[in-house]
Symmetry: C2
Subunit: 477 residues, 2 copies
């Protein structure tokens, strides 16, 4: 493990990110360009994200399944806008078992097509609906400009796919899953997000409506953190997914899909981190507490380690690690765990043994201000309360940052200024041509059209046409 | 859901299996030949297998990570016997993002090579050892003759990969993981297994020694249910994984790998099932208990459903489902859940409401013999005890079956007879030529050379050469 020396956020945000991901051992570059290796520390964070989302999915009646990695190339072509969106990004298997294949196989970039094919087989009657299935898997999109977690050729995600009897049910499901993502972001990741509808230009290839949650990173750029799509009957018609309704008439189903990926790890890193490194949200952090024993000689060591063992047992309900590395100074360990973002550091030295105290340092408040000396008695509840407090305080810090960097410019001149270092919340006409012009001028794109609208209407900040909704524009990952 | 009509095991074991997998909705055929879709009921079983193994892996110090799907073709060629073993089975990506690739990418059939490459980068010093990493993922092997769960082109598994400072440590790890698999099979899946070493012919391509657990199916064929490989320094040398020891000298590491796949679901189906369908082990079953309400009219329904709700709350610690389907006779429901293998069925009718009883039916003992009427009071512990008893009884049934179909023939004539419908436990020379001749004669292969040996020595059952170990031979999946 190397000394934590990463560039400052303020000096080079991109390099801060790239080096931090490597140095904190979250991920590494794979030998194949654009692919990543997720290392145990990063994967543990993902496992905690998975467990938390999976619980919410199951509570709302979804079940997991597994659909194949390989999709016949012809399937991709059945839904017109889907093929247009995805064909430039496909990895294609042309050789299997030493033979050239008659029909090439696409490595799934997403699974609407193959799942549509299976649903057509499984769904016969209204009694079979709704079908509420999710899968945790890996997908591949051929990306040229990659960034660990944020944009990689292979990534990990969950993709939910549901089929319903009515359009209303499909829309309700789409919004329910959007809300689950938003709640998860807030309650588990301490990230405030804006829920909203994507513009026509930015919606999913094959969707009727796409919704997203958008989060602000510490460089003020936006990161689309999850999406939920109402697919209407587009895939039902392309794959002939029909059911007999209670009047015995054949109807097409209405489908949705929704996903959150390892990209969300990028959101956690960039929404919370500081110059010292990661600041991980307590409810998702691989380790919530690190114990650092401090001693100068063998006698001190044996006294200290005895108390360390007691405290370890006392804190058994938390995700905890003890840094027992020999030949490494405590100061090095402090920096190392700060870089890795562990929410609470507990230091135990000979004086603490004597006084039955420990030093507790909060990662989210660096330096002396975040450090206190507390009794070993009742340490469980001290830690539990502190983790709660850290969560709340991290959420508040991110929210305040977003509010301080969100502007309501009334004219295009101010718009162009504010999107250089913030979000613009503006009246917008919603048209693709207008969006393309804004992007060409400013590199900002429409993030989404928030579900929470103030009401009323105005004129489009760029083209001056009548506008009935406000949209968030910003530069984005 | 269709009426449960599957062929009898005794009449056509293969068709019994194939139809049961489909009808119980464990899995389905994918549009790409040889691939499968694991449906929610099958995936839930896999999730329970995963959770149980994952806990054991983590208790023994392993961490999960994720290595890429794509491996440069040149990597596969670095370890001589590895490439020979795997090249006929590879799926190869030759096109990415619309362009022909300069170096084709292999879809991983297993990950020793790419993990070896990363370990070479990460491991510098003896302080970095051991490295104990596992990953849960999908792999692809081009198979021509496929069977759902047992042999599919894409399958799901975990692959553990560890690196150690000494040969002894690597061997200890290899055997530790073998024991974990054997314990898991016994304690969770109620399957007795034989732990042993694979013959030279049957060992993993690239291993120094391969160990396996072997289970007997109800048709007496063997199913290799998990493997653990001591890879010696083969991959360390091929990928240059070296560390500085405490004398500051460069040494190659010693590696292991070990895996258990969705094939194990096939083992559960075939080790326990009967003519009525699945019999799922209580500790892994997606549902441990199914409640079937019985009523003739709305008044009875409301009385019965009230008690169903009470019982559901009482049994909240179990994985439970209530079959509330309307317009379906109770008899149909009983057959349906028997086919799906739910360990305990609880029936509640109007008389039970009156008497504060329920009828409890064991899946492992069909008919009246397995059915009893018990009080609603203390139902939690009745069910808990019964699940334990079912587990023990399933294990015992499988063990007895194996013992009854395992023979110790002393001459090759009897050997040829017994392997038609059982296992042969025999003195064997261990030579590949001898094994090939046996296979050509009998279709039986060496399953493994059990770790538990009686001692002593004898002569090879086939070739008559001196033999120092006994081996299990049988026909296998």
């Amino acid at each position: 493990m190397s000394e934590a020396s990463i560039p400052k956020q303020s000096e080079d945000f991109a390099e801060w990110y790239n080096q931090l991901v490597i140095k904190a051992e979250l991920a590494d570059y794979a030998p194949v360009r654009g692919c990543m290796v997720v290392r145990p520390y990063g994967w543990s964070l993902w496992e905690n994200i998975q467990a938390s989302l999976d619980e919410r999915f199951k509570e709302t009646g979804h079940q997991n399944a597994a659909f194949p990695l390989f999709i016949p190339q012809s399937f991709m072509e059945k839904e017109q806008s889907h093929v247009e969106g995805f064909s430039p990004e496909l990895a294609v298997v042309t050789i299997g078992g030493g033979q050239k294949l008659e029909e090439p196989l696409v490595v799934r970039p997403t699974s609407e097509t193959i799942i549509g094919h299976m649903y057509a087989k499984w769904i016969k009657s209204y009694r079979d609906l709704p079908v509420l299935i999710n899968q945790w898997n890996n997908v591949v999109r051929w990306e040229m400009r990659t960034k660990l977690f944020i944009r990689t050729m292979e990534f990990y995600w969950q993709e939910g796919h549901t089929a319903h009897a009515t359009s209303e049910e499909a829309q309700a499901e789409t919004l329910q899953m959007l809300d689950i993502y938003a709640d998860f972001a807030k309650d588990k990741a301490a990230i405030p997000v804006v829920r909203g509808r994507k513009s026509e230009k930015e919606k999913f290839a094959g969707a009727v409506r796409t919704y997203s949650i958008e989060a602000m990173m510490r460089d003020t750029r936006a990161l689309q953190s999850a999406t939920s799509h109402n697919l209407g009957q587009n895939f039902a018609r392309a794959f002939d997914i029909q059911y007999l309704d209670d009047q015995n008439e054949l109807q097409y189903v209405w489908t949705t899909s929704w996903g959150l990926s390892t990209r969300f790890i990028g959101a956690i890193i960039m929404a919370h981190g500081d110059d010292k490194g990661l600041i991980l949200p307590p409810k998702l952090a691989p380790y919530q507490v690190v114990l650092v024993p401090i001693y100068k000689n063998d006698q001190e060591k044996s006294q200290v380690m005895e108390v360390v063992q007691q405290i370890k047992r006392k804190l058994a309900d938390f995700r905890l690690t003890v840094d027992e590395r020999e030949g490494v100074r405590p100061g090095f360990k402090f920096n190392d765990w700060e870089m890795r973002g562990v929410p609470i550091r507990v230091e135990i030295g000979p004086k603490d043994v004597e006084n039955r105290t420990v030093a507790v340092a909060r990662r989210d408040i660096p330096g002396r201000e975040g450090k206190s000396f507390v009794s070993q008695d009742g340490l469980e509840s001290t830690i539990a309360d502190l983790l709660e407090e850290i969560h709340t305080s991290m959420y508040q810090r991110a929210l305040t940052f977003r509010e301080e960097h969100t502007y309501q410019p009334d004219d295009y001149g101010s718009f162009k200024e504010v999107v250089k270092s913030g979000w613009a919340d503006v009246w917008w006409c919603g048209e693709t041509d207008c969006e393309l012009e804004i992007k060409a001028d400013t590199r900002a794109t429409s993030r989404n059209i928030p579900i929470d609208q103030p009401g009323g209407s105005g004129v489009c900040v760029h083209c001056g046409k009548p506008a009935h909704e406000r949209a968030i524009f910003s530069r984005a990952y």
